[in-house]
C-alpha cells in the first residue's frame, strides 16, 4: 500500500500549493464568504460517507454512518446555501448615481 500512500501524499501536497496560490489573491472584503465557501468544500466528506456506507455493518457501523451522513450533509448543504446568501448581498454602487436633493 506504500505506493498508493505516496501517490495520495503527492496529490495532497500539490493541492495544498494550488490552494495557497489561488486563495492568497482573495481580497479581505471576501474573507468571510471565502471561509464559508471553503467550509462547504470540506463538505465533500459526504463522498467519503457514501463510500463508507457501501461496506458498513453492525449496530455501531450503522450509528456511525447515520451520524456521519447527517454531519456531512448539514455541512455541504448549509455551507453552499449560506455562502450564496452572503454573496448575493455584495452589490456594486448603482450605475445611475442618485441626484442631489431638490
Amino acid at each position: 500500500m506504500t505506493g498508493s500512500f505516496v501517490g495520495d501524499m503527492t496529490i495532497f501536497v500539490l493541492a495544498l500549493l494550488v490552494g495557497f496560490e489561488v486563495i492568497s489573491k482573495v481580497p479581505a472584503t471576501l474573507h468571510t464568504p471565502l471561509m464559508s465557501g471553503a467550509n462547504s468544500i470540506h463538505g465533500v466528506v459526504l463522498v467519503g460517507v457514501v463510500i463508507l456506507s457501501s461496506e458498513t455493518h453492525g449496530v455501531l457501523g450503522y450509528i456511525l454512518l447515520f451520524v456521519a451522513g447527517a454531519f456531512a450533509a448539514a455541512n455541504v448543504v448549509g455551507g453552499y446555501v449560506v455562502t450564496d446568501r452572503m454573496l448575493q448581498m455584495f452589490k456594486r454602487r448603482p450605475v445611475v448615481e442618485k441626484a442631489d436633493h431638490p
Partner: protein
C-alpha cells in the same frame, strides 16, 4: 480499469477542478457568487458520481436496502437542518454558523476514520497514520469548534481559566501522541483508538476554553484549517483523491486566513493558543483615559462638520456590529452623499468576529462593495480626508502602534490620525481590548461624540438631514 471506473474517476476529477475554479472566482466580489455556484456544481457531480459508483457495485461496493436507508436518512436529516439554518441565520451570527459547520465537517471526517478502523482493524502503516491524524485533528476540531460557536453565541461570555491548564493540555497532548503512536505501531486494540478519540475531544475543549474576545477570528480560521486537514486525512484513509484535494484546499485557505488574522493583531498564533491576554471582550476593561485634554462635540456640530466636508471616511469596528448600527451608518452615508460628500469605509482586517465579517454586515445593510476599502488601499487616502468618523473601533486606530514599547506596538493600524479632523463616536473613554489609552482621542484634531453607536448615528442622521434639506 473498466470504462465505468474511468468515467467515475473523471467525474471526480471534474468536481475537484470545479472547487479550484470556484475558489479562483472568489478573487473579486463581481464573480464570487458564480464561483460558489461553480463549486456547488462540482460538489453535485462528485457526490452523484460516488452514488452511481456504489449503486453500480464497483470497487467492491455492496449496497443493500438497509445501508441505503441509513445513509439516506442521515443525509436527509443533515440536509434539512443545514438548509434551515443557512436560510434563517442572521449575518451577525455568521461566525457561529461557520464554526458549527466546521465542527460537523471535522466530526464527519473523524467518524469515517473510526468506522473504517472498525471494519478493517489491521491497516497498513500509512493508512494507520492517516487514521490516527484524522481522528485526532477531527476530534479536536469537533469539540473546539462547538465550544467556539457557543462562545460566539454568548453562552460562555466569561473566559474560563483552569489552573494549570497548560500543564493539563501538555499531558493530554502527550497521552494522545503516545496512544496514536501505539495504534500506528500496530496495536490491535480498538480500545486504544477509542482512548485517543476521547483524549482528542477533551483536548479540543481545553484548547479553546481560555481563548476569548478579539482572538476569535484567529481561532475560527485555525479550526477551519484543521477541518480541511482532517478531511484530507479521511481521503488518505479511503484512498480517495477528491477528499484529499478538497481537504488540502481548505487547509490552505484556513492557514492563510489564520496567518493574516494573527499578523493583523500583531500576535503569534502560538501565543493566542496559549491564551495570553485573550480574555474578556474589551468593553469590560474599565481603565479611564488620562493622556491629555479631550474635546467633546455636540451632535449638531458633528453633523455640520460632516455635511460640509468634501471627503469622509467611516471607520467601523466591532462596536458598530455589536450595536447593530450598520443600517444607521449606511443611512448617514447616503444623506452625506446626497449633499455631495465623497464617503467610503475603511475596514481593518480584524474588524468583526471572523475574517471579513464587517464587510458582510455592511453589504447586508446595502453598502456597495466599491465603498468598502481595505487597510492598505485606504491608508494613503486619510491625508486627503476632511473628516474621519470612527464608530466602535479602538485599538486599530491607535497611533501608539507606530512606536515600540507598548501593548499595540507593531500592530498594523488605520492612519486615521492623518485625516484633517476626526470624530469618534464612543460611549466612554474606556480603553480597548489591548487595555491601553488611545492617543487618537487626545489628538487636538479629534472630537469625541459620546454616545451609543446606534443612537449616536441616528442622531447624526437626523441632524444632517435638517442641514441638507
Amino acid at each position: 480499469m473498466s470504462h465505468w471506473e474511468t468515467g467515475i474517476r473523471f467525474a471526480s476529477l471534474f468536481g475537484a477542478v470545479c472547487f479550484v475554479i470556484g475558489l479562483h472566482l472568489m478573487n473579486s466580489p463581481a464573480s464570487a457568487r458564480r464561483g460558489n455556484q461553480v463549486s456547488a456544481f462540482g460538489m453535485v457531480v462528485a457526490v452523484a458520481a460516488v452514488l452511481a459508483n456504489v449503486a453500480h457495485g464497483s470497487d467492491g461496493a455492496d449496497m443493500n436496502v438497509k445501508r441505503w436507508i441509513v445513509l439516506l436518512a442521515g443525509v436527509g436529516v443533515g440536509s434539512g437542518y443545514g438548509l434551515y439554518t443557512a436560510r434563517t441565520v442572521h449575518m451577525t451570527s455568521m461566525p457561529q454558523l461557520v464554526s458549527l459547520f466546521n465542527a460537523v465537517g471535522g466530526g464527519a471526517a473523524a467518524l469515517i476514520a473510526i468506522a473504517e478502523y472498525d471494519i478493517y482493524p489491521h491497516p497498513s502503516g500509512g493508512t494507520a497514520t492517516a487514521t490516527v491524524l484524522d481522528v485526532v485533528i477531527g476530534g479536536i476540531t469537533f469539540t473546539g469548534s462547538l465550544l467556539a460557536a457557543l462562545k460566539l453565541q454568548g453562552h460562555l461570555s466569561h473566559p474560563v481559566t483552569i489552573p494549570g491548564a497548560r500543564l493539563i493540555s501538555g499531558v493530554l497532548a502527550a497521552l494522545t501522541a503516545a496512544g496514536g503512536g501505539w495504534v500506528i505501531a500496530g496495536a490491535d486494540r480498538k480500545l486504544v483508538l477509542l482512548a485517543v478519540i476521547l483524549l482528542a475531544l477533551v483536548l479540543g475543549v481545553i484548547t479553546v476554553l481560555p481563548i476569548g474576545g478579539a482572538d476569535m477570528p484567529v481561532v475560527i480560521s485555525l479550526l477551519n484549517a484543521f477541518t480541511g486537514t482532517a478531511v484530507a486525512m479521511a481521503g488518505f484513509v479511503l484512498s480517495n483523491a477528491t477528499l484529499t484535494i478538497a481537504g488540502a484546499l481548505v487547509g490552505a485557505s484556513g492557514s492563510i486566513l489564520t496567518k493574516l488574522m494573527a499578523d493583523a493583531m500583531n500576535r503569534s498564533v502560538l501565543s493566542i493558543i496559549a491564551g495570553g491576554f485573550g480574555v474578556g471582550d474589551g468593553a469590560a476593561v474599565a481603565a479611564a483615559g488620562s493622556g491629555g485634554p479631550v474635546k467633546a462635540i455636540a451632535v449638531d456640530d458633528a453633523a455640520l462638520q460632516l455635511a460640509y466636508a468634501s471627503k469622509v471616511i467611516i471607520v467601523p469596528g466591532y462596536g458598530l456590529a455589536a450595536a447593530q448600527a450598520q443600517y444607521e451608518c449606511r443611512e448617514l452615508a447616503e444623506v452625506l452623499e446626497s449633499h455631495g460628500v465623497d464617503v467610503s469605509y475603511a475596514i481593518h482586517p480584524v474588524a468583526g468576529r471572523m475574517p471579513g465579517h464587517m464587510n458582510v454586515l455592511l453589504a447586508e445593510a446595502n453598502v456597495p462593495y466599491d465603498q468598502l476599502k481595505e487597510m492598505d488601499e485606504v491608508n494613503s487616502e486619510f491625508e486627503r480626508t476632511d473628516v474621519a468618523l470612527v464608530v466602535g473601533a479602538n485599538d486599530v486606530t491607535n497611533p501608539a502602534a507606530r512606536r515600540p514599547g507598548n501593548a499595540v506596538s507593531g500592530m498594523p493600524i488605520l492612519n486615521v490620525d492623518h485625516a484633517k479632523s476626526i470624530i469618534v463616536i464612543k460611549r466612554s473613554m474606556a480603553s480597548g481590548y489591548a487595555g491601553i489609552d488611545n492617543e487618537l482621542y487626545t489628538d487636538p484634531k479629534t472630537s469625541m461624540f459620546f454616545a451609543d453607536a446606534k443612537k449616536g448615528l441616528a442622531a447624526l442622521v437626523a441632524a444632517a438631514k435638517t442641514l441638507v434639506a
